[in-house]
């Protein structure tokens, strides 16, 4: 089969590799009909996530048709149309039973490695470094799905791929980010980053009753999408001072909740601060550039919540801990517990509350994955979201 493989920084190639096989009783094989490049894939592309190996198959947002099931899978049959959640979760452990699927204790074969870095290991994730299991990903014609009796959700209505594909990651991720804000009537939420997760976070904030959402980015097309599709107010950080503008827009109090949908590769910030982080990152003294996070922590109102769906990998400096403590902030984060949100969000799509396909700006054949990565990374052609189609 054809698969998009990682070969190094800025080096993604479509290679011919063997078709996947069932390796465990609870595995299934999915013939992929649609797959997408995620903003978090760019951290791999840019070389910021360690423990990648040349030849690793990328991709954690995919859907398709079940073509084979292991002896232990009783809930799915060959021919079922499914969306696959990006966290690989067993459904049996302490965390899965609590609905904290991305904290699964049993799905990361390289948990020892993750423990060294983070104290404890989260779940395994498709195509997202050996630190997170080293599982082959779904930017391919086929994928092996472990614990297939827990993760994949059957799509029985005749919704298009593009309407349900994002149940695999970014829609639940934006939704959980909003849910983590504990939104109360009258609340204003500020969202840093208007990529696809930011867009769904904004939409979800309104779904969950936010009065206002203030969206922050520097790309006009992304800000426009936030305004048009969700009714957000927008701030371009290249044109205005964010902390001043947020104070002004919230009557001096600050947003009730802030969402960092940017993560470890933030681009903005004052020249000197940005240079500081770039230098430390280059010298391996800091792995992450927490510019959006710092700003969110400082801007958030007293007793407010800062929700972090943006991906961070290691260590960050100059985090305003004094602001967190003295203002009594609550910080909520985590890889998304996708399995928990798939059913209720599919129902919302079926009801017509939302059609997540609005974030798609580009559709390309899987063979052009390399070009898709470059275009998305460089934000060429106003690229916001790329869907790849394998040609079987």
């Amino acid at each position: 089969m054809k698969a998009a493989c990682w070969f190094g920084k800025f080096d993604v190639r479509v290679e011919t590799v063997p078709d996947p096989e069932i390796l465990n009783p609870r595995d299934a094989i999915v013939k992929i009909s649609s797959t997408a490049v995620c903003g978090s894939d760019l951290h791999l592309y840019d070389g910021f996530i360690p423990t990648m190996e040349k030849g690793d198959i990328l991709g954690h947002e995919f859907m398709g048709e079940i073509v084979e099931v292991g002896s232990g899978v009783k809930t799915l049959r060959v021919g079922d149309r499914v969306v696959v959640p990006f966290p690989i979760s067993c459904g049996n452990c302490f965390f899965c039973k609590k609905g904290l699927f991305s904290c699964c204790e049993n799905s990361n074969p390289n948990a020892t490695l993750a423990e060294k870095m983070w104290g404890h290991s989260p779940c395994g994730i498709f195509g997202y470094s050996h630190l997170l299991g080293g599982y082959a990903g779904g930017q391919a014609e086929y994928a092996r799905v472990p614990f297939a009796d827990v993760g994949p959700i059957k799509i029985e209505s005749n919704l298009d791929d593009e309407q349900v594909l994002f149940l695999s990651d970014i829609f639940p991720t934006g939704y959980m980010a909003a849910e983590n804000c504990n939104i109360q009537p009258g609340d204003t939420v500020a969202v840093w980053g208007c990529g696809p997760v930011g867009q769904f976070a904004i939409k979800s904030c309104f779904m969950l009753g936010a009065e206002r959402v203030i969206a922050i980015d520097r790309f006009p097309e992304r800000l426009q999408m936030a305004r048009q599709e969700s009714g957000a107010e927008t701030l371009n950080y290249e044109e205005s001072d964010i902390s001043e503008a947020l104070a002004e827009l919230t009557g001096g109090r600050g947003p009730d909740a802030c969402i960092d949908a940017v993560g470890m590769e933030a681009h903005h910030g004052h020249g000197i601060v940005h240079a500081y982080d770039r230098v430390k990152q280059t010298m391996m003294l800091e792995t992450d550039r927490p510019i959006a996070l710092r700003e969110a922590l400082m801007a958030c109102r007293n007793g407010g919540t800062v929700s972090v769906p943006g991906v961070y990998g290691g260590l960050a400096d100059k985090i305003p801990i004094g602001s967190i403590m003295n203002k009594g902030l609550t910080i909520r984060s985590g890889q998304t517990h996708v399995q928990r949100y798939m059913r209720p969000l599919l129902e919302r799509i079926e009801r017509g509350d939302i059609d997540p396909s609005y974030v798609i700006t580009h559709r390309m054949p899987l063979e052009e994955a390399s070009k898709a990565y470059e275009m998305f990374a460089k934000k060429q052609d106003e690229c916001i979201k790329v869907v790849l189609k394998p040609e079987h």
Binding site: M1, N24, E53, K54, N92, P109
Partner: protein
């Protein structure tokens, strides 16, 4: 394992540690007085004396706080050599009091011999040998009964322990263990059950004269509020005669404490999910691992 001689070594080490700290403090707080005591006169030696003091304190604290006492004692030996060299230069210096320098040199040489003796004693015996001891705990969402039942059949252990080839019952609560060794070889030994409290504890030990002298105990403790079972494992491997300890460590792909952690996690995976999470045999755009760190086997 500690014998009388080793106890003596330990007490001596403790004494030397406090001697180090005391001497170091004196050197830092009263450098001039110390220089005079050992017969060095130049006031320039104050800084040198203070540096020596810092070194003394470091090695003293090292001996007191570190498990590898003998290494820190060897650091003291190196320090003593340095002192002797400095005293030697003081001896040839005209400004120094020769008699005092001779006395100090004799004292340092004496302490040095003591350091060396103590270090030798400790590394020859007991606590500081290459014996490997590991402990690890894990919480598993199954009852103590289920977990005991699995482990009591030692022949099942190779399923969760990658480094084992087989464990076969040979009767009378004894099993024949075969483990992988480097270069495609194996090591084998017989072990017997030495304690068996149903649903609570299992302990085993290799028979006398085994190629790999080892022992293990696993305990099953019911976790509160239906959270399953807390499993504690302790393993001990001793270096066999004629085989250096490092080779034992090579029985494992990784450090022994990490290996038992991986084994216990696989035990948990199997007991909770019915299978062991794996990626070996999956497809990849490479024939073999490029870093040799992950993926023992992929298909390309």
């Amino acid at each position: 394992m500690a014998n009388n001689q080793n106890n003596l070594g330990q007490r001596l080490a403790l004494g030397l540690a406090w001697f180090s700290i005391g001497l170091g403090l004196a050197q830092i707080l009263a450098p001039r007085r110390m220089a005079q005591t050992v017969g060095m006169k130049k006031s320039k030696s104050n800084t040198l004396m203070r540096m020596l003091g810092a070194r003394e304190i470091t090695s003293g604290i090292g001996i007191l706080t570190q498990r590898k006492t003998s290494k820190w004692l060897l650091a003291r030996v190196a320090g003593d050599a340095m002192d002797l060299a400095i005293l030697g230069s003081a001896f040839s210096s005209k400004r120094s009091d020769r008699n005092r320098v001779i006395a100090a040199t004799a004292a340092v040489a004496g302490v040095s011999a003591l350091d060396l003796y103590c270090s030798r004693q400790l590394s020859r015996n007991g606590s500081d040998t290459k014996k490997i001891q590991v402990r690890k705990s894990i919480t598993i969402g199954r009852s103590p009964e289920d977990l005991y039942e699995f482990w009591r059949h030692f022949d099942r252990l190779p399923v969760i322990m990658n480094h084992l080839v087989s464990v076969e019952p040979i009767g009378h609560d004894r099993w024949h263990w075969v483990a992988k060794a480097p270069a495609g070889k194996t090591v084998e030994w017989d072990a017997e059950l030495i304690e068996d409290d149903p649903n609570e504890l299992i302990a085993w030990r290799s028979l006398k004269g085994s190629q790999v002298d080892n022992a293990g105990v696993i305990q099953f403790e019911r976790a509160p509020a239906g959270r399953g079972t807390i499993v504690h494992v302790e393993l001990e491997y001793s270096p066999p005669a004629g085989m250096i300890g490092a080779k034992i460590a090579k029985l494992f792909h990784v450090a022994p404490e990490q290996q038992i952690g991986i084994d216990l996690r696989r035990f948990k995976q199997l007991m909770e999910t019915g299978e062991i999470a794996r990626t070996e045999g999956q497809s990849a755009g490479r024939a073999t691992s490029t870093s040799k760190k992950y993926d023992d086997y992929v298909r390309a």
